[in-house]
């Protein structure tokens, strides 16, 4: 089972460059999330989606954009990379029926360095 697949695993960007982090899940989950993980700061929610065509901002959305055209894919776009976006990015998905006991499944992460 593939689960949640993120690509690339590593990337170095120059300041001002753009890139898209890819995320795909094969579990038919309705919810998908993007988090960033910084040392000692835990996981901060960037954007999330409750279904195809529906996205919403999380705690730290500035500098990022997302789209959700299909159930399976949830790409994260960085338009003008800044050093502050150096982080490890995790995509996650879950199947939510509105009940509390929802398990999120995470990808292996993308380590992004902006220089």
């Amino acid at each position: 089972n593939a689960g949640v697949t993120q690509t690339p695993k590593f990337r170095i960007l120059k300041i001002g460059q753009s890139m898209t982090l890819q995320c795909a899940q094969d579990m038919n989950h309705n919810y998908m999330y993007w988090y960033r993980q910084d040392p000692g700061m835990g996981l901060k929610l960037i954007y999330y989606s409750v279904g195809a065509g529906i996205t919403d901002k999380g705690e730290v959305p500035n500098g990022y954009n997302v789209s959700r055209s299909t159930t399976e894919d949830f790409p994260l776009r960085l338009e003008l990379a800044a050093p502050s976006q150096t982080s490890v990015y995790f995509c996650a998905s879950s199947y939510s029926t509105g009940q509390p006991n929802t398990e999120a499944f995470f990808g292996q992460g993308t380590r992004l360095t902006v220089v």
Partner: protein, 114 residues
Amino acid sequence: QQQVKQSPQSLIVQKGGISIINCAYENTAFDYFPWYQQFPGKGPALLIAIRPDVSEKKEGRFTISFNKSAKQFSLHIMDSQPGDSATYFCAATFSSGSARQLTFGSGTQLTVLP
């Protein structure tokens, strides 16, 4: 307030000892409290979770203790093993409009010495 505060930031325990990680929250809308375990180079994975109407949940060597009145919960790892060395995140979920959100603590890096 969506924050979940976690302590300590790092923890070193001898093999066979008890590891204890604490979390506190303010938002009474939180209605589910999972713990996630993350090994280096991997994404977090669900370890154990508890509902706020339960004071304790045990799965093998892992136990969550929950104090609703104090808005605190903790993870206890009994007979800690070197293979338990990982980063542990407490988390909380709540409904925001039609969506459920998952918010994490800052993480605890656990090292179990052989």
